[in-house]
Structures are given as structure tokens and as C-alpha cells.
């Protein structure tokens, strides 16, 4: 049975049940969410406190993941970093998907010049490489946390728009849409009550994928020194701070990277293993 469950990930989908890989991915995501929520209560050392006499210290019983370039506890700093990485990404992905999906559904229902103008403009935004977009905007407006959230959500709105519009166009041709139009329903009702329930599953799966992109971009920007600024540090910034330890193979460089990888790989695997009822429509 276990073997059947494992192979279900690649071949047949197992209906509504999550398989083993999906479950473990979900539990890692929940674990990180818990860490982000309760970080101040569970960190063993204060994030600013210098607890080790040596810098880039090895893993020990007291300092689980070693110490950083100033001798601070990396384990505590990673737990606190989860707040910034998860918080900023979650805020950005919510804004991006909300505005993208709302605009996409509106464009599909309204059609005409509104649709083509908006599509043209957002496609143009989409053809700026995301990292470059981030670099230019951060150079312009600086990298405070609200500015980062705004930048990241602007970068990923066009993608969400395109995805939602493609799904909504299909729903728009259905008979129940024609009925609702004849009934004289307005635009807000049409998009909220007729279209949204029919595209919700794929849109949520897409939100997960976009979350991964945002985590990667945020970490990349922080790694370049343009993301979260000291004294705060997200996981990308932790790698940047401690990159000097790379020649010594310091755990301070490796563990923040592993934290990012565990989160992003888990989200990707969870979405890959979602029950087929949710995913199938996203294949359109």
C-alpha cells in the first residue's frame, strides 16, 4: 500500500487523499508557519546577542547551527528570519494574486478594449525579467519592508492576471453566465459569485507556485543586499551576511540556504501532489 501511495505521485492521482509526499510537504510548511508565528517565544538566544567567542563557530550542543560572522546564534537568527521571509512573501503573494485575479476576471467578463489594453500593458510588464525589475525598483524607492512587499506584488501581478484571465475566459462562455447576464446581474456579482467559485482551485494552486517565486526573488534580492536591511535579516540576508564563512564551510552559510530550500521544495511538492480535482483544471 505504501508503495502504491508513493507511485501515486507520478502516475495516477489518489482522488481527494493526500499521499505521503504531499503530507510530509504540508507538515514542513506548517512547521515553518508555526516557527514564524511563535519565533520570539522559542528562540534559545536573543538574535542580537553575541554568544560565541569565535566567529563562524561549528555546530555544538548549545549553538545547534553554529555561530555567525559576529558570533551570534544562527539557529535563533534562522527562526526569526522565518518571520521576514514568510511574512513578506505571504503579504506580497496575497496582494499580487488578489489584484491579478480580480483584474483577470474583470477583463474576461468585460472584454473589449478594457481587456486588450490591460492585457497588452500587463504582458509588457511581464516581459521585464523579475530580478531586474526588482533591482531597478529597489534602486528607485529603497528597500524598506513595505516597499519590498509592494515591489514583489507588482512584479507578480501580471502572471496571476494572465492565469486567472485564461481560466475565466473559459467559464465566461458557459450557459450559466449567459443566464446570469440575462437576469441583469452586475459585474461584481458575475465575477464574485459565478466565475470565482469555478476557478478557485487552480487559482489557489497558482498562488502556491507564485509564493515560491516570491520567496526565491526576495531571497535573491536580500542576497544581493537589496532586500531586507540590517538589523533585520531574512534567510537570503543571512546567507549574504555569512558568505565570508564559505571558504571554511561554515554552517552559518549552509543552514539558511537549507531553510529556503526546505520551504520552497515543500510548497512545490505539495502542489504537485494536490488532489487531482483541484489541480486538473489548472492544466488548461
Amino acid at each position: 500500500m505504501t508503495r502504491a501511495t508513493l507511485s501515486g505521485r507520478f502516475g495516477m492521482r489518489l482522488g481527494y487523499r493526500f499521499n505521503l509526499i504531499g503530507m510530509s510537504a504540508l507538515s514542513i510548511i506548517l512547521l515553518w508557519s508555526g516557527v514564524a508565528l511563535f519565533a520570539p517565544q522559542i528562540i534559545p538566544h536573543s538574535v542580537g546577542e553575541i554568544v560565541d567567542t569565535d566567529y563562524f563557530g561549528p555546530m555544538s550542543r548549545d549553538l545547534w547551527f553554529g555561530s555567525d560572522y559576529l558570533g551570534r546564534d544562527i539557529f535563533s537568527r534562522i527562526l526569526m528570519g522565518a518571520r521576514y521571509t514568510l511574512g513578506i512573501s505571504l503579504a506580497a503573494v496575497s496582494i499580487a494574486c488578489f489584484s491579478g485575479v480580480a483584474l483577470g476576471m474583470t477583463a474576461a467578463v468585460a472584454g473589449g478594449w478594457f481587456d486588450s489594453m490591460l492585457s497588452r500593458f500587463l504582458d509588457a510588464l511581464n516581459s521585464i525579467p523579475s530580478k531586474l525589475f526588482g533591482l531597478v525598483v529597489v534602486a528607485a524607492v529603497g528597500s524598506s519592508i513595505p516597499a519590498l512587499i509592494a515591489t514583489l506584488s507588482v512584479i507578480y501581478t501580471p502572471g496571476a492576471y494572465r492565469f486567472a484571465r485564461a481560466l475565466a475566459v473559459n467559464v465566461n462562455t458557459m450557459d450559466f453566465m449567459a443566464v446570469a447576464r440575462i437576469r441583469g446581474e452586475g459585474l461584481p456579482y458575475l465575477i464574485a459569485s459565478e466565475i470565482l467559485p469555478n476557478i478557485l482551485g487552480p487559482v489557489l494552486a497558482d498562488l502556491g507556485l507564485r509564493f515560491v517565486f516570491i520567496v526565491l526573488l526576495l531571497s535573491g534580492l536580500s542576497f544581493l543586499g537589496l532586500g531586507v536591511q540590517p538589523p533585520y535579516a531574512d534567510w537570503g540576508a543571512l546567507v549574504r551576511e555569512n558568505i565570508g564563512g564559505l571558504p571554511f564551510g561554515a554552517p552559518a552559510v549552509i543552514f539558511p540556504s537549507l531553510a529556503i530550500a526546505s520551504l520552497t521544495i515543500s510548497v512545490n511538492l505539495l502542489i504537485d501532489n494536490l488532489p487531482s480535482r483541484i489541480r486538473d483544471r489548472s492544466a488548461e
Partner: protein, 316 residues
């Protein structure tokens, strides 16, 4: 039928042109409407108001933004990229050598990644569902889910710290022999190759698998063709369009990857130049680099679309 293809291609090129104008608009306004006055930045905090005002006049900073945008665009078209604020050198001079370096890196990566990814992607599709296929699939998901700097740091840890085969930083001016070339380029190229190939393998595999699900492939299977023959003779010629399309799309990933890779390996390319320009707020340099990147990206996406049109037998 030929006319239909031509008009589709022309339409796609027109769209690319319009997109380019919108993009340059976005780049200009993101950088030009910054808080902080350029003249003040240039002259420093201690400058007299008269000097600042004089420089503003000389640089046409008092003109409306739209006029400045048009002047900037006209300059770009004529090959005049402006003068760098930081060291008062024409941007074109700064970029020339760097551009060649970046193209060298991108070219080396593409020449390794494309054959590698096509082989892995096609063979994975050929033996779909086997252990080999699963390993390839899981590995590519893993690679596209992690940031580029993590691949780079892992590569440094493995090859420079533990195995001590390669230097951790790359300096192109030390290259004297082919062996030196190999050593300095190895790490950046390996890092980029990982990211680009992972994308390309996934898309290639998907394209071949899709063709394998068609009735005529099933017919070939029923007639007793072997698996390699099924894929190479029957499926592959029809999947060629989507595959070339995916190659062009994956290569556009290079543009993002190169920013991280050049920074981490201290490689003197355009992306490093741009990241440095961002930290010194050197606007003409940022704008020009950004336009080069957008142009490259747009060219690759447009090429991918046009190839998709040309390779569609229903339109030919």
C-alpha cells in the same frame, strides 16, 4: 497559407516593438522619477543652490519628464547611452568590454546546457515512469525550487572548499591558457547550467510526453515499434517546435541567473556592473543595463513565439 504565417510573424514582431516601448517607459520612469535630486547627488550635500540650479539647467532636468524620456529614447536609438554619474565616463565605454564577458558566459552555458538538457529531457520522456525518469523529475523540481545563490554556494563548497579543484572566485584577466579558461569559467558556468538545464529538461520532457499521447504514436506502438524508435522517429519530429520553443524560453532564465552568478563569483560582466550601479545610484548606467537585459529577454521570448508559429504544421 504562407501569407498567414508571414502575417502572424509580422504581428508578433510588432507586438514585441510595442512591448519594448512600454518597457523602456517603465524603466525610465522607475529610475528617472526617483526621490532625490540628481544634481544634488552629483554635486554633493555642500553644493551651493546656484551650482545645483546651473547643473539642473545643463542636464535639462527642469524639463517635463516626457520630454526627458523622448530625448533619452532618441539617444538610445542613436547609440548614445549617456554619461555615467559615478565616474563621468560614457556609458558605452563602460559597457563594451563587460558585454563581451557576459555574452561569453552565456554562450558557454548555452553550449553545455542545451545538449545536456535535450538528452536528459528526451530520454526521461522515452523511459517515462521508470526509476530514471523519476530521478530526473525530482532532481529538476529540486533545482528549480532553490535560489541560484544556493546552487552557487553549494558548488563553491564542493569544488573549491572540499575537493579544492577550482578557485572560488573568477577573474577573466588572469586567463593565459585554455586550462586557465576552464578553471575560471567552470564554477559560474556549472551554476548557470544547473538552473537553465532544469527548466529546459522539464519543458522538453513535457513536450515529448504530450506527443507520445497522440493516436499515431499509439498506432506505432501497436505495430510493434521499439521505445527508442517510437520516440525518435515518430514523436520527436512533431515535438521539435515545442522543444525549440522551450529552449528559447529557458535561455531567458539565464538573464536572471546571471545577475546572481556574476555577483557571487565577482565576474566582470554587465550584471555585476548593474548591481554596482544600483548601489551607487548611477542612473544612466542602470537604465542602459536594464534596457540591454529587457531587450535580450524580449528577443528570446519573441523568438520562442515565432518558432512556435513556424513549426506548427497546421499553419505552414
Amino acid at each position: 497559407m504562407r501569407r498567414q504565417v508571414t502575417s502572424l510573424v509580422v504581428k508578433r514582431l510588432l507586438i514585441a516593438l510595442i512591448t519594448l516601448v512600454i518597457v523602456s517607459f517603465a524603466v525610465f520612469f522607475a529610475t528617472a522619477l526617483l526621490p532625490g535630486d540628481t544634481a544634488t547627488i552629483l554635486l554633493g550635500q555642500s553644493a551651493t543652490p546656484e551650482a545645483v540650479e546651473g547643473l539642473r539647467k545643463a542636464m535639462h532636468l527642469n524639463d517635463p519628464a516626457i520630454i526627458r524620456f523622448l530625448r533619452w529614447m532618441a539617444g538610445l536609438v542613436q547609440g548614445d547611452f549617456g554619461t555615467s554619474y559615478a565616474n563621468n565616463v560614457p556609458v558605452a565605454n563602460l559597457i563594451r568590454g563587460r558585454f563581451a564577458n557576459t555574452m561569453m558566459l552565456a554562450g558557454l552555458t548555452a553550449s553545455i546546457a542545451v545538449p545536456l538538457a535535450l538528452t536528459l529531457g528526451i530520454t526521461a520522456a522515452m523511459w517515462r515512469g521508470t526509476l530514471y525518469d523519476r530521478i530526473v523529475t525530482v532532481a529538476t523540481i529540486g533545482i528549480i525550487s532553490v535560489p541560484e545563490f544556493m546552487i552557487a554556494t553549494l558548488a563553491v563548497l564542493l569544488f573549491a572548499v572540499y575537493l579544492k579543484w577550482l578557485p572560488a572566485l573568477s577573474f577573466t584577466n588572469e586567463v593565459k591558457s585554455f586550462y586557465d579558461l576552464m578553471r575560471t569559467y567552470a564554477m559560474p558556468v556549472v551554476t548557470l547550467t544547473f538552473g537553465v538545464s532544469a527548466q529546459m529538461i522539464r519543458m522538453t520532457r513535457a513536450a515529448v510526453v504530450e506527443t507520445l499521447n497522440t493516436p499515431y504514436v499509439e498506432m506505432a506502438l501497436l505495430k510493434g515499434a521499439s521505445r527508442p524508435r517510437l520516440v525518435l522517429r515518430h514523436a520527436l519530429p512533431n515535438a521539435l517546435g515545442p522543444i525549440v520553443n522551450s529552449v528559447a524560453l529557458s535561455l531567458s532564465y539565464l538573464l536572471g541567473g546571471v545577475i546572481i552568478v556574476e555577483t557571487i563569483f565577482n565576474y566582470p560582466g554587465i550584471a555585476k556592473l548593474m548591481v554596482d550601479a544600483v548601489s551607487t545610484r548611477d542612473l544612466p548606467l542602470i537604465q542602459t543595463c536594464a534596457m540591454i537585459f529587457c531587450l535580450g529577454y524580449l528577443a528570446l521570448i519573441t523568438a520562442a513565439d515565432i518558432i512556435a508559429v513556424l513549426s506548427n504544421p497546421r499553419l505552414r
